[in-house]
Every structure is written in C-alpha cells, then in structure tokens.
Symmetry: none
Subunit: 302 residues, 2 copies
Amino acid sequence: NADGAGDEDERGLFFKDFTTTSVLREDTKAKLMTLKGKFNGKDGDAVVLLEKLPFDKETVANLMSSSTMHQTLNNDIYSTYEAFPPTNFPDYKTTMIYPATEKHVIKYSEQDMYVVRETKDLYENVTKQCLEKNQFSIQWVYNILEKKCESERIVFEDPDPVNGFILLPDLKWNRKDLDSLYLVAITHNHIKSLRDLNKESLPLLKNILKSGTEAIEKEFNIPVSKLRIYVHYQPSYYHLHVHFSNLKFDAPGTDVLRAHLLDSIIENIEMDSQYYENKTLHYTVKENDVLHQAYKDHGYFK
Amino acid sequence: NADGAGDEDERGLFFKDFTTTSVLREDTKAKLMTLKGKFNGKDGDAVVLLEKLPFDKETVANLMSSSTMHQTLNNDIYSTYEAFPPTNFPDYKTTMIYPATEKHVIKYSEQDMYVVRETKDLYENVTKQCLEKNQFSIQWVYNILEKKCESERIVFEDPDPVNGFILLPDLKWNRKDLDSLYLVAITHNHIKSLRDLNKESLPLLKNILKSGTEAIEKEFNIPVSKLRIYVHYQPSYYHLHVHFSNLKFDAPGTDVLRAHLLDSIIENIEMDSQYYENKTLHYTVKENDVLHQAYKDHGYFK
C-alpha cells in the first residue's frame, strides 16, 4: 500500500492516488527522475526516485521479440524503432521516502555545485561544527547493524565490534545483474568519516578489503581486479562505510572529487597516521547543502 | 517487417524472428545494450542498439499511477518497488544496422577492463619497459608546443621552458558551451607522467594551478570553485598535461581510478618529494591495451 506499511512481495497500483507536485531533478543520460508529491487524502510529502532498469542479458531476447515496435526511420542499412514491451517486464525501479522532510527534498533536487578545498582548519572550524548542528537520523543504519531490517540481504558479516562489518547490496543494486554489482560494507565500529581514520583503523580497513573482496569473489565470482573499492568524502551518512562497485558500472560517486580508494587510504595512513587528519580534502557541495551554507557564512565563497 | 524495408509508422513484432548471438556491450548506468544477432532464415548479421528512454515530464504522473508496483523493501521511511507499466508507454528505442559488417560489430563491442595495482616495483619492471617498447608518436604535442599547429586555439601561454605551459581547449570541447568547458595545460618541460613528479616539479605545478585558473576565470568567467583540475594516470599520451573541466560536465576520465587532483599532487609532494615515485597507483586497463598484455605476460592476472 501507498504509505509503505505493506508486506514485501505485495503488488498493486500503489501510486494510483499519487499526485506529483514538482519534478526535482532529471538525468536523461542515466534515465532517472526525482519527484515530490502527495498521496490524495494523506498528510506529508513523498520524495520519489524513478530509475529505468538496465537491460538484462537473460531476458533481453524475450523482451525484444515480444515488444511491439514502431518504426521511426529507415535509411539504407540503418533503421530505428520505438519499442512497447508487454506488461510482464519490470521496467523501472522506484524508491520512495515518505514522509519526507525538507532536507530530503533538497537532497534530491537539482542545484549548482561548488568545490570546497577543505583544509584541516576549515574542517575543524566550519565542517565539523556544521555537521554537529545538522545531524540526519541514521536509524536505518542501526536497524541494519542490529539486524532489525534487511538481515536477509546480508552477504557477509564479521561481528567483531571493533574490526567487524556487515556487507550487503547497495540499494542501487538489484542483486541480479553482476555488471552493476554494488555492495556496501558498514562498520560495526562507530566511526564518522575518512577524517577520523588513523593507524588504529588499519586492522578494520584491511579486514574490509580482504574479507569483503573474498566474500564477493565467493558469492558472485567477481575477482578483486574487477572491483572499484572506495570511501566517499563527504559521505552521504556519517557512519563509516566502504563501497564495492563493478568496474563496468559507471556508479555515481566515483569521481575523484568524492571517491578515495580504500587501498590508497591504507597506504597513506601507513605512511603517516595523521594523513587524513591533516590532508586538504576536496569535494563538491550543492547550493542548498547545509555545508555550502556554512562555508558561505564563513566567507569562503566570494 | 524485419529486414528494415517497412514504411515509417509501421508497427509490429518486428523482432519476433530475431535470435541474439552475442551481447556486444552494455552500459547499466545509461541503460543501453548492443547486440549482434540474426533473423531466422535470413543471411547476414544485424547489430542492434537498445537504449531505455528517459522519463518524460509530461507523462510521468500517468506512467506511475498506471504501473503495477512490486514492493521489494520497506525500512523506516524508505521503501522500494519494481514497476511494471502498461503496454501503451514507449519504453526503449532501438537502432538496427542490417546487414552489419565486422567493423560495425567491433565499433559497438565492449572490451573487458581490469584494475592494475601498480607498485613501485611493477612500475619499474613492467609498466616502464612496456611503455618504452611501445612508444606512440606524440608529434602532435610538439606541433602545439612549437606553434606549428593549433596556435590560434591557445588561450594562455607561459613560454618558460622549465615552468611554462600552453593552455588550450580540449578536442572534446566546442569552446562555446561553458557547462562542458574542458581545457588542457601542456607543459613545455618534457615530463612523462605523474610517476616522474617530485619537489623539482612544484614550481611548474603551482604555476599551472595559479595561472591556469586565472586565465580561465579571465577568459570564460568560470571561477576555480567550479573547476575539476587533475592529471590522468595512466595518461593517454606521455607528455605531462593537466585537465581543467567544468564540474557540471560529467567528463570521461574523472574516475578515482584515473584522475589525480592537481592540488593533492602538490600537497603530497610537499609532504614527501618521492611520494609518486613510491606510491602504489591504481588504474584500469582494457583487454586489448599493450599494458594489459604486458601485465598478463608478467603473470599479474591469474
């Protein structure tokens, strides 16, 4: 049902009573769109993310042969068609946040971006204070770590409270198409971000690198030479997690202005335990991010 | 009809008799796939490009309300669904090349990629030797530096032979659309790559960062806070050059497995002059690259 209280495996026209109030963002290259809307007769905004599913090797032949094609061009050896598939093919995935706060709306809206060149001092005086004042709830992370939710999705766990972690598929991955394989290792240890990593974190980081890649090779038969393994800074939530994505997958957040290779993090800390405490870190902020506002108030942007 | 000879506006199950012989390439982010196949009882290969259509603002509300949703997750305020739309929405576009030659097949095929974890030793024993044996001509770089070609495209030059450089638009940029602004600074000094940078390179690197961004701000009114400034490793040619691209532009080669921020390079060398001589560097190679072959011959890939 529409308010998200239904059982999994339920099917229906859950968005029949949904009214779109605005398009927040669209990406025509990635075929995704984010919307804000309401359910008729219910309070609160919903933020809805729509994303077309990639073609699936297993079913593409069946999809093509059963799609009604509308020919739109025919020139020499080239022809083009618009395709209308039958109803038994899943076509797009939908993620709903309901009820959504203004922060969620901003997060999924299109905005101007700026590079922040965060020195150690700026981290201490601007970033850290801003994040302490504006904490998003990460209840959903604790739900996973405490096995209250998504426990059936866990691919691997090392339960050690200091050096252990839970490895599970990222929400962006359907767990079927190996070319877009995307998993996340969430640490049991409560570490906020890259800035807090030092030589005490090395056993944890090395454990994630070794056990995480072994679990992925065992479970999905994807070797380490086909994986991109990295941490985001800034992260989307301040509880340490490591991303594992298939090289073939042009995953969001692999840009040099956001991703830091786990292997390089380990090497840099081995060279200097305070590397990430002292390093100037570069990342982008969006116009409506609280961090952008904090840096603006600080006079960082002229 | 299946051989592409039909009229425009014709509709039908044109691919009913199509058999896929191989998937040439897929891009799960852009939701596209290229296939090779045959029509039953007909000669000749067809190359078929499939690409999901982006969501359409005009029809998205109707699409959502009429799609059957299968709930796949429900955690706190988040829920996810697989959506099965009715048959009256065009879902993907198809481009067919028929009959297709072997060149068409290669053009639309994917090569496998692998991560190389290049330690200092592997650089000395494999990469360096491979690059020395397989030198591509970079005459075109010298033509630019000696003003034999493209001199009318130069945006800025510092002629100093040690610390100077030429700044000009990258070939991928049309010099008009500022959102996809992309320039390259090519050094007068003959330095091969990131591996060869050390404290002697600092005046050059700092000069490129300062004078390059000043020239871009003056000429195009794009401030440094809107630019991504980086070096590739591996580069596409072995003469040092620095990329300046607009943040808004999802430029190729900004992945953490290829791009190194100029600002971080300077900081790392200031910390340790031999940082890039000693660092383990990660990058991807494609199956047909000479470097992939060299690493394979060395027994690097099991």
